[in-house]
Subunit: 232 residues, 2 copies
DNA sequence: GTTGCTCGTCACAAAATTGTCACACAATAT
DNA sequence: ATATTGTGTGACAATTTTGTGACGAGCAAC
């Protein structure tokens, strides 16, 4: 893992502004890439995997909010921290921005110092774990890059939620988790769903895993579930 | 069986709202106390030590944020989780509220279910977990993280109650406990069950431990039981 | 619009756990 | 030895917890 400073994608349709921001960030030790619209941004995200996105509210074509919302919906990019940029007077949209999934919100004009400070804060909060390493366990293979799970090379057909659940389990083996903890970790702490929903997804995951691996998800009666490679 | 039930202090200047919240929480098994302003709240906190505070943003006199900030500054109350309540339209203050030290933030109106869910989440995060260290004694291993007991690597099949019983014994070895004490410690103080029930669970536990370890649970005639590694 | 997919919830089925009892057995007292 | 008291043990029904199929809402792609 190269720890050569975090990389930031700047998305704004005005080149001078991008440039200004880029200079400020580079002076602070960040690596920068730029995009003028949602399409370019998406391309950059895919192949250069920035650690954070500075996203202008106003964009030609797909608007910033819309783009943010879309990013947050896709598993592959959901974890990407986003800081929204907005011009003065558009502040009413703050809530809307945050609801779209932005992690923070800065009003133009802002000082470089402020920008860097917020950026640091967001990066600190966001999960530093680059989950890029495939995890494999007795024929079960989860590939975060392909965003896919295979059981003996046979692709598993599971929904995004089951994928996240399995990923969590595979990265937290041999340990019992309550339904509440799973909701926190897999669904995200601030959603409201019934605890029994966990059971249903466990069921779906087990079914998808098939006889070969379903036993790995063990029920811990009175507590929750556990992912274990050891025999029951 | 009833869980221990956490207590919640509801701070809001409008009595009907307090009442509504209280009812919802009580139905969910929480114990409630109320306060109409910061002063009352402080008094309640001192002498009734709630596990969590629901704090309205708007309060006569000392405002909610201010109060939260103050609580977080005092050592005695710094650890007390706070959930801020705010009316719709005050959402801009969200950041401010969280910065004041609130652990979560709910916008009125909210459903009782949502409230309870958030409350649970906050309590879960703030409540430090119990012992995380595995306990091992001559081939008998209790791992609280896995929530599992193994005897020479063979998992023991026991119910939640036997698990708690064994955990208690392993953390309180070499000492005799009466049935009443065990009921208190393992079942939780405020349940009513026959003392002889302890015998039955001891029996079940012994059976599960098998010949290898059953002798560790010794009968102290006329008194109760003891867990000991020493030979009888 | 339709279609196809995923998700959360529900109602019911299935399974495991629990507390209690009756009686067998063991230890002490009379 | 016999009575008395305390503990071990198997069985049982009630309750709790989990498994499972189905359904409708929501959403994206068409």
């Amino acid at each position: 893992m190269t720890k050569a400073g975090k990389s930031v994608l700047i998305v704004d349709d005005e080149a001078p502004i991008r440039e200004m921001i880029a200079v400020a960030l580079e002076m602070a030790g960040y690596e920068c890439m730029e995009a003028a619209n949602a399409q370019e941004a998406h391309a950059q995200i895919i192949d250069r995997k920035p650690d954070l996105i500075l996203l202008d509210w106003m964009l030609p074509g797909t608007s910033g909010v819309e783009f943010a919302r879309r990013l947050k919906r896709e598993d592959r990019t959901a974890e990407l921290p986003i800081i929204m940029l907005t011009a003065k007077g558009e502040e009413d949209n703050k809530v809307q921005g945050l609801e779209a999934g932005a992690d923070d919100y800065i009003t133009k004009p802002f000082s470089p110092r402020e920008l860097v400070a917020r950026l640091k804060a967001v990066l600190r909060r966001s999960t530093p774990q680059g989950i890029e390493e495939p995890i494999e366990v007795s024929g079960l293979l989860l590939d975060p890059v392909c965003h896919r799970v295979t059981s003996f090379d046979k692709p598993l057909d599971i929904g995004p939620t089951e994928y996240r659940l399995l990923q969590f389990f595979m990265t937290h083996q041999e340990r019992a988790y309550s339904r509440a903890q799973l909701l926190d970790q897999v669904w995200g702490g601030n959603v409201y769903v019934e605890e029994r929903t966990v059971d249903v997804h466990i069921r779906r995951l087990r079914k998808a895993l098939g006889e070969a691996h379903e036993h790995m998800i063990q029920t811990v009666r009175g507590t929750g579930y556990r992912f274990s490679t050891k025999v029951a």
